[in-house]
């Protein structure tokens, strides 16, 4: 399995290579972009200046000038805001996926190994979650958390979105894990381990879950793409990440309002969002192909 992955990494799959390269660059851009950019554009006198929130120049400076991608409708540096938006998208995507994986794997495994009454409740609950179109449930959850209420917690401004999207994204993982665990449970190597006296906990953690890492990694990439898209959608609608935090979705929304005179402002957030989503899908597909030779 490892050899096959290395094989893919060496560039046999150009789409996967593109995805990995783009995501690496994006990660660097998100981590260091806001700091470096702030140091570059900060006026000498102002100490508390932060280019993500504070105007550096006149509104709507042209692309290609002093500020590379110009400035937005409030005169803020577009590069800084794109980098800070990348931070938000990746943070939300990653945290939501960690929570969704934890809950999804636990529920999926319990759905197979727990006593019947518990697995019944858990799996019916999972099925019920599928009755909701995702964004609809997220909208409802956000409705119960008005802006400002959670600000005192770390990541406060992102918290409503993270909570809402975590709740909507675990059921699909739970369903996948349950299906996989149910088939793995009857395979010879698991039955063999059980016969030699392994406990259920040992069976699950040492024999069954390691088999699932590949497929879960692949699915995670595609799920993160979905989460980033959902976060942008909510922010675009004005109920996700709140201003002045620069989510790509809210940047697209404010660029749309000024579209009559400055249509080019729409290009950058749309482009970086689309490329991120596509790159994550490429990486997910590449991983799936590497871990599961039978899939097409």
């Amino acid at each position: 399995m490892r050899r096959r992955l290395a094989f893919t990494l060496r560039g046999k799959d150009p789409l996967y290579a593109f995805g990995v390269a783009f995501l690496t660059l994006l990660l660097v851009f998100a981590t260091f972009g806001p700091i470096i950019r702030n140091a570059m554009v900060r006026p000498a006198k102002e100490a508390n200046f932060y280019s993500v929130y504070d105007p550096v120049s006149r509104p709507h400076e042209a692309v290609g000038g002093k500020y590379v991608l110009g400035t937005d409708e409030q005169g803020r540096d577009v590069v800084s805001r794109l980098a800070a938006g990348a931070r938000i998208s990746l943070t939300v995507g990653f945290l939501v996926e960690v929570i969704a994986l934890t809950v999804g794997v636990t529920v999926g495994v319990l759905g197979v190994f727990a006593p019947r009454w518990l697995s019944m409740i858990l799996m019916r609950f999972t099925d019920g979650m599928f009755a909701f179109p995702d964004i609809l449930l997220a909208v409802l959850i956000i409705g119960t958390m008005p802006p400002g209420k959670l600000d005192r917690f770390p990541l406060g401004k992102l918290l409503p979105v993270i909570i809402a999207l975590s709740i909507t994204s675990w059921p699909s993982i739970a369903r996948l894990v349950k299906g996989q665990v149910a088939t793995l449970k009857d395979r010879e190597f698991v039955v063999g381990a059980k016969a030699s006296g392994a406990s259920t906990f040992y069976l699950v953690t040492r024999h069954i879950l390691p088999q699932l890492t590949g497929i879960l990694l692949a699915v995670s990439m595609i799920d993160i793409a979905g989460t980033i898209l959902a976060e942008s959608t909510l922010s675009f609608l004005g109920i996700g990440v709140q201003a002045p935090e620069p989510s790509w979705g809210s940047m697209i929304n404010s660029a749309r309002e000024g579209m009559g005179s400055y249509p080019e402002a729409l290009i950058w957030p749309c482009l970086i969002l689309s490329l991120t989503v596509i790159a994550l899908n490429f990486v997910g597909d590449g991983l799936r192909a590497a871990f599961d030779p039978k899939s097409k």
């Binding site: 019916r124 009755a131 909701f132 609809l136 909208v139 004005g238 697209i252 729409l266």
Partner: protein, 316 residues
């Protein structure tokens, strides 16, 4: 007998889903900020008035009876009153805004289905040729491009560059209403159209590979009849399921589109409800949309075994 059993099981699952969705919206209402009685009473209401309103709303009851009351009212079309403005009944808000959302979603679904089935079948027939590859590439783009990225592009081209279509809804319609629907419907249908194209293609390729098609070819069935009567009718079944699930995404997708084109639909009402912390509108919007989604999937699930005897056999 099997068919009846399968349908009954579906109905049971639909009922369970409805219960679940109503319970979740009820719980969301419980967690929502603000006390309804205080908000409805207004700033100047005396404690006595607030207590009376609370009693009339049943808020002094324990939660199970509040839930029963909530469902009972919802079934009779009573979703409470809006917290703001003239305290308009939420039922009226839904009745005013829902038709536009349903119209948007239905038109988009029709467009997506006809477009997707046509091009999917075309791609399958010309498999691995240039036409197939171009259709596949475009549909991959269609699946990955979000609505609110495609939106600005189309609006820029058709409204600003070519100046042919209106870029937002207006209360004083200067053109026939359908003109205002062209762009929203086109944008909304892009993703399901791409999904249906890919699915039809895959399903059609599978079908064309099967033996009864080879028999039909050997028998000398004319090509058109072969493709439409023999292959497409068999290939279309999984597509019908997708149409059911896609409709849910269209309903929620229209939230974005309505917002984008400033159309006064249910989506706009719900988003406004969230921003004003007007929970009854949000609850009712989610409940109604969710119920429609469940109902539609139920219809598809019941329709499938009726349309295809093979599914009848394989189920339970």
């Amino acid at each position: 007998m099997r068919l009846v059993k399968a349908i009954l099981l579906r109905l049971l699952f639909g009922a369970f889903s409805l219960f679940f969705i109503s319970f979740v919206t009820f719980v969301a209402g419980e967690f929502a900020p603000g006390d309804p009685a205080t908000i409805i009473g207004g700033e100047k209401a005396s404690l006595e008035t607030v207590r009376l309103i609370r009693h009339n709303l049943g808020l002094d009851q324990p939660w199970p009876s509040r839930y029963v009351r909530y469902v009972d009212h919802a079934v009779h079309g009573d979703f409470g009153v809006s917290y703001y403005g003239i305290h308009e009944p939420v039922r009226d808000i839904i009745a005013r805004t829902l038709p536009m959302t349903v119209k948007l979603a239905t038109l988009a679904m029709l467009l997506a289905a006809s477009f997707g089935i046509f091009f999917g079948a075309l791609a399958a027939v010309y498999q691995r040729r240039f036409l197939d590859k171009s259709i596949l590439t475009i549909s991959t783009l269609g699946v990955t491009t979000p609505n609110f990225v495609l939106g600005p592009i189309l609006v820029y081209v058709f409204c600003q560059r070519l100046d042919q279509l209106p870029n937002s809804w207006s209360t004083t319609l200067v053109a026939p209403e359908i003109v205002y629907f062209i762009l929203p419907v086109a944008i909304l249908s892009a993703r399901p159209a791409a999904l249906i194209t890919r699915l039809t293609r895959a399903s059609m390729i599978d079908t064309l590979d099967q033996e009864f098609i080879r028999t039909a070819v050997a028998k000398g069935v004319p090509r058109g009849r072969l493709l439409f009567r023999h292959a497409l009718r068999n290939a279309i079944l999984p597509v019908i399921t997708t149409i059911g699930t896609s409709f849910g995404f269209l309903l929620t997708g229209s939230f974005v589109i309505e917002r984008y084109f400033l159309m006064p639909g249910l989506g706009s009402a719900v988003i406004e409800g969230i921003q004003q912390i007007n929970m009854p509108v949000v609850q009712a919007g989610v409940l109604v949309t969710g119920a429609m989604f469940i109902f539609l999937n139920l219809v598809v699930d019941i329709l499938l075994p009726i349309l295809d005897p093979r599914i009848r056999e394989s189920q339970i």
